[in-house]
């Protein structure tokens, strides 16, 4: 109790210095949390991937399509529960700034394979009935103020022309890690339209999605799929949904690494600031520490005083930083539009923030603690604060 009282009062001794140091820690921990959340958002797709889903694409590149006839052959492979397909559309809504992913999907099978996309049954039925209908994510609808029945025009970049879709349903994510900024429409509609403009792409798709009955057998089934189409005109590459998503992340890995690096650098910088604050405080109080030692307190007591003060300041700063991360992250993602479909401050990030605060407190106290513990009493008593 006495010890804690002493730590508390010492922490508030130089109010301005403590306030500025705490503010620095708040900003550093906040920045660390936000940057970590950006990295998490990068991996959100991969982390949300199902263990029972495989993705098959053209072995040469994703930009080359696969014949739709492959679907029936894949379905016949042992262990495959169902097969669906999706095609990247790449349309522009009003301007290029309004980016969100659009997919032409097999309406009959796709949503069965993705139970995490929760659609009211009547809306799903309305979508299935309407060739030009579309299903949009809740966040996407919120961003553009769309409602069921609204018409959404998209300017095709891969498939020229202006495409109009009627919103027939709005899906919600089953949990917070589900991407809610996607746009789905009928693959049949795309395919029929391509007959007039891009006949070479008719009856093709970008990827097949395969639902398997046993997650333990994904590797085996993937090999079987690729073996089926070996030496064909369009050889396939099948991988787990997670690996498929990570493939996209790896394209921007340098950015992810840079963000991670900056987030840790911020912590190192504030660590140096905190260490300086503690060194200044300890140097000013050398005579007091010498007095404590003179009257019988062990060097360990003095070291613990410095450590306690350092941890108290850094934990206060990191707790405040953690608390602020949530509203700031919310503000940040609302300003970013649909760029980050899933932007959540995870429990792991909060734990890392607290751990960073604790680490700052401990490391910053090491040098001044050792010095104050070792100082000769006679020498310390002569020190002027």
């Amino acid at each position: 109790m006495y010890f804690l009282k002493l730590i508390g009062r010492n922490s508030l001794r130089h109010k301005l210095r403590t306030a500025l140091t705490t503010l620095g820690i708040v900003i550093a921990v906040l920045a660390f949390g936000l940057l970590q959340t950006v990295v998490d958002a990068w991996y959100a797709g991969a982390n949300a991937a199902s263990a029972t889903r495989l993705v098959t694409r053209n072995a040469i590149s994703l930009v080359f399509p696969l014949p739709i006839t492959y679907r029936d052959r894949i379905r016949q492979i042992a262990g495959v529960r169902s097969v669906s397909q999706a095609n990247w559309f790449g349309g522009v809504y009003i301007s290029e700034r309004n980016f969100f992913p659009q997919f032409a999907v097999d309406a009959a099978t796709y949503f069965d394979m993705y139970p995490e996309l929760v659609i009211p049954p009547d809306q799903l039925q309305a979508f299935l009935r309407d060739r030009k209908g579309c299903i949009v994510g809740r966040k996407l609808a919120q961003t553009y103020g769309w409602r069921v029945g609204d018409v959404v025009p998209l300017r095709g970049t891969i498939h020229p022309g202006t495409w109009e879709f009627v919103i027939r349903g709005i899906y919600q994510g089953r949990d917070t890690s589900t991407d809610e900024v996607q746009f789905f429409f009928h693959w049949q509609y795309l395919n029929e339209s391509l007959r007039r403009s891009q006949s070479q792409l008719v009856d093709t798709t970008g990827i097949f999605l395969i639902d398997v009955d046993d997650p333990e057998r994904t590797a085996e089934i993937a090999r079987a799929v690729d073996a089926t189409f070996r030496n064909s005109l369009a050889e396939t590459l099948t991988e787990t949904e997670k690996a498929f998503q990570l493939g996209f992340v790896s394209m921007t890995e340098a950015i992810v690494v840079a963000i991670r690096l900056v987030s840790f650098l911020v912590i190192v910088i504030i660590l140096a600031v905190m260490a300086n604050t503690m060194a200044m405080s300890a140097r000013e109080r050398l005579a007091e520490y010498a007095t404590l030692k003179a009257i019988g307190f062990a060097p360990g007591f003095v070291r613990r005083l410095i450590l306690g003060e350092s941890i108290a300041i850094s934990l206060a700063g990191s707790a405040l930083g953690c608390a602020l991360t949530f509203p700031v992250a919310h503000l940040f993602v609302s300003r970013m539009g649909t760029l980050f479909p899933v932007f959540q401050v995870s429990a792991q990030t909060v734990a890392l923030q607290i751990a960073a605060g604790l680490l700052i407190g401990v490391i910053a106290a090491v040098a001044p603690g050792i010095r104050a513990g070792r100082v000769r009493i006679a020498e310390g008593l002569r020190a002027v604060g």
Partner: protein, 236 residues
Amino acid sequence: MMIEARNLSKSYRRGGQVVPVLSAIDLDIGAGEFVALMGPSGSGKSTLLNLIAGIDKPSAGVLRVNGLDIASLGEAQLADWRARAVGFIFQFYNLLPVLTAFENVELPLLLTRLTRRERREHAETALAMVGLSDRMKHYPSELSGGQQQRVAIARAIITDPEILVADEPTGDLDRVSAAEVLDLLERLNAQMGKTIVMVTHDQRAAEAAHRLIHLDKGVLINGRHAEAAHDAPASS
């Protein structure tokens, strides 16, 4: 003898050179004595006080306090011994500014097994002895120099130590406050039988002591009794 020094020496190593500070000091201080150490700056009087208080170790010789060879003690043992046997009074009081007068006085008792209630009773008694019962909740910055020194004295006596060591206890005080502090030290010596070793430059402070010990260049010059010293001119 309360304090017994034989052939006591202390030297420091500075820049590869050995600098002697105290040379072959032989000294006896009896229990209940009030001794003033005097001498010019750099004469080694504070070093001798530090050795007696166990906050520094001699380079050579024997130093026994109440029969205990304190030079042979390890750091932790020495800290325990200081907590039990020595009360410190410093020139600049050395109170912790973040603690009240009461808390400062209570501080050494944290090293004992006393209960919180017992600690409170002891601290209140000590503060009453130095006439500061009404200043218990005041922080050092809210007290005058004389009051701060009296708080420091209360802190020094709270554990009922055998020896009080005082390093220039009146050095930072005005004449009135200095007189009050000296009066207090005399009472502690006379009424409670505390052995007091005091370093001072102040002739008036020295007059409060029973015996004056003069040091010059690390050597003991003499050990006259106060009555004789009172007749002699001030050494510094």
